[in-house]
């Protein structure tokens, strides 16, 4: 099965008279890390919900892994892992139990599930924390647990909706590096939505810019900047970003300890 893994054609979603997503056409190839960049309320989350069959499009067609998610959501969800914007866990269950439950919903035999879950917890850097209640996890740990949760079913496509929201800059870098490493090793297709250009830039192969429910440009970062700002001269700015200061400060602090 070659060809695009995600294919959207003329997709429209209306809430009453408000158009959340309008005439969206997009295709994502296998193994790509695709970034959906846009401000809040641009229709990124709605598009993602439609890809998973969690809401129905008003018109247009979708194909995810060659399957129509509107009519056959369960098959799509077998192949697609989705990390919602603010992921929730059963707070009185441990991190391990939460993942085991996901494994059970995916009909993974218990013994295999146990191995897989332990392995994934180690990969996202949560080994040692697995018997802690999920309610006691910090925001960053929850997000990493969420990533492990997505990977339990060994998905072909990973959809991450604002995965870095509310994590500190250093945690963001680690998280993005983790996503990149996972996608390179497992040859997964990743769709990442964010409103931070910087984050998208560091991990994504291609980017789609989303404003007011419309996709205004698609391509890799270099092409996009050439297309969108053809006449502007190249400006090189040197400086230190706050993130760098933050990271340096904390690295130094940790070394001291």
């Amino acid at each position: 099965m070659e060809g695009p893994v995600i294919e959207l054609t003329d997709l429209t979603k209306k809430y009453g008279s408000f158009t959340a997503v309008g005439n969206l056409s997009l295709s994502v190839d296998k193994g790509e890390i695709f970034g959906l960049l846009g401000p809040n309320g641009a229709g990124k989350s709605t598009t993602i919900l439609m890809m998973l069959g969690l809401t129905e499009p008003t018109s247009g067609t979708l194909r995810v892994c060659g399957i129509n998610p509107t009519t056959n959501p369960v098959e799509v969800k077998r192949k697609v892992g989705y990390l919602p914007e603010d992921v929730g866990f059963y707070e009185d269950y441990t991190g391990f139990e939460n993942l085991m439950y996901t494994a059970r919903l995916n009909s993974i035999p218990p013994r295999e599930a146990r191995e897989r879950v332990m392995h994934l917890l180690e990969r996202v850097g949560l080994s040692g924390e697995e018997s802690k209640k999920a309610g006691k996890y910090s925001r960053g740990m929850r997000q990493r647990l969420g990533l492990a949760d997505v990977l339990v079913k060994e998905p072909e496509v990973i959809i991450l909706d604002e995965p870095t929201l509310g994590i500190d800059p250093r945690g963001v870098n680690e998280f993005l590096a983790l996503i990149k490493r996972l996608s390179r090793e497992e040859k997964n297709t990743v769709l990442l939505s964010s409103h931070h250009l910087h984050q998208i830039q560091t991990v994504c192969d291609r980017v789609g810019i989303f404003v007011g429910g419309h996709l205004i440009a698609v391509g890799d970062i270099d092409t996009l900047s050439r297309e969108l700002f053809p006449h502007e001269p190249m400006v090189i700015k040197a400086g230190v970003s706050l993130d760098d200061i933050y990271n340096r400060y904390f690295e130094g602090y940790e070394k001291q300890r």
Partner: protein
């Protein structure tokens, strides 16, 4: 610590449970481990203990009162009372709605507020599994609870009065428990419907309690007002009076609680022959005696159908509004 995955590991390590069964498993263990259920269990247990002890202390009078011998002494355990404490089946008709409401009021909206609903729905399970598993788990837990309570009362009675129940009596007790479960499941479905409709668990709990209060207290006031207005004059014909009686009764029969108490009295008191008005001509010439179980059930068949219908309507309503809903993360 890891008791929730012991459930599935009990059945061999190599086979995976069906996702629906996994969900029901989880819901059951959640119910059983919750404080809410412990408190409910304690409450129900204490009230039943109270009513049974009252029944046992009064049972000798009941035996003396109908010395004919054929009266169903064992069933008196469930219906006898001396006026200080209501009898067992009255308690169930009172606590049943509460049980159902408390088990279901936060079924869906709590998952939504915790952000677990969108995570669960992004797994390869059908959307209705969430609703069905909640319902199935609650019904299983409630059934186990009601049956053990019913049999506990039977056992205590057996020890206390020393007369074993006849097969007919035993079957009547089983049917009584089944009808109670049906009645509770109506309230359960109503509260699950509210939990789908309202985002806040507090709102849905309040809505459930409001409906319960309306149906138990205010509706009967309303009916008595209507009845007074529609009362036939003193010199109305017998047919008119009959029609009027039927009308008032039918107004009451809209209530699930009325259906339940009609059904349980008929099943537990075998001498009840009809639930409608009786004329003197109808009684004239009948031999006093009790009905066999089949006939008792035949009398309450419409009541049972009504209860099932009410339950199904609530379930369908929550099903429709849940399936159409767009599920977003928190």
């Amino acid at each position: 610590m890891k008791n929730s995955d012991n459930i599935s590991e009990g059945k061999g390590n190599s086979r995976a449970l069906h996702p629906f069964m996994a969900m029901v498993n989880k819901e059951i263990s959640d119910y059983i481990r919750s404080w809410r259920f412990m408190i409910l269990l304690l409450l129900v247990f204490l009230t039943c203990l109270g009513s049974v002890s009252v029944a046992i202390s009064n049972i000798d009078e009941a035996v003396k009162a109908n010395a004919t011998g054929d009266s169903f002494i064992f069933l008196r355990l469930f219906t006898a009372s001396d006026g200080t404490l209501p009898s067992f089946f009255v308690f169930i008709s009172f606590l049943g709605p509460l049980l159902g409401l408390i088990m279901g009021f936060d079924a869906i909206n709590a998952e939504e507020n915790r952000g677990t609903l969108s995570r669960i729905l992004s797994q390869p399970v059908h959307r209705d599994y969430v609703l069905n598993s909640k319902f199935t788990a609650a019904i299983i837990v409630l059934s186990v609870m009601m049956f053990s309570l019913g049999f506990l009362v039977t056992g205590t009675g057996l020890i206390a009065i020393g007369i074993p129940p006849t097969a007919d009596e035993f079957l009547r007790i089983v049917f009584f428990i089944l009808i109670s479960i049906l009645y509770i499941s109506f309230w359960l479905n109503l509260s699950i419907f509210f939990s789908v409709k309202f985002r806040q668990p507090a709102t849905s709990a309040l809505a459930g309690i409001a409906v319960w209060l309306f149906l138990t207290v205010f509706y009967s006031i309303l009916v008595s007002l209507i009845a007074k207005a529609a009362e036939p004059s003193a010199n109305a014909s017998a047919g008119q009076v009959m029609a009027y009686q039927e009308f008032v009764m039918n107004l009451f029969r809209v209530l699930p609680g009325q259906l339940f108490s009609d059904a349980t009295t008929t099943v537990l008191v075998p001498t009840v022959r009809t639930l409608g008005p009786l004329t003197v001509e109808k009684i004239y010439g009948t031999i006093p005696g009790s009905l066999p179980l089949g006939q008792s059930l035949l009398i309450v068949w419409p009541q049972l159908t009504g209860l099932v219908a009410a339950t199904v309507i609530c379930f369908v309503l929550s099903y429709i509004s849940f399936m159409k809903r767009e599920v977003r993360s928190r």
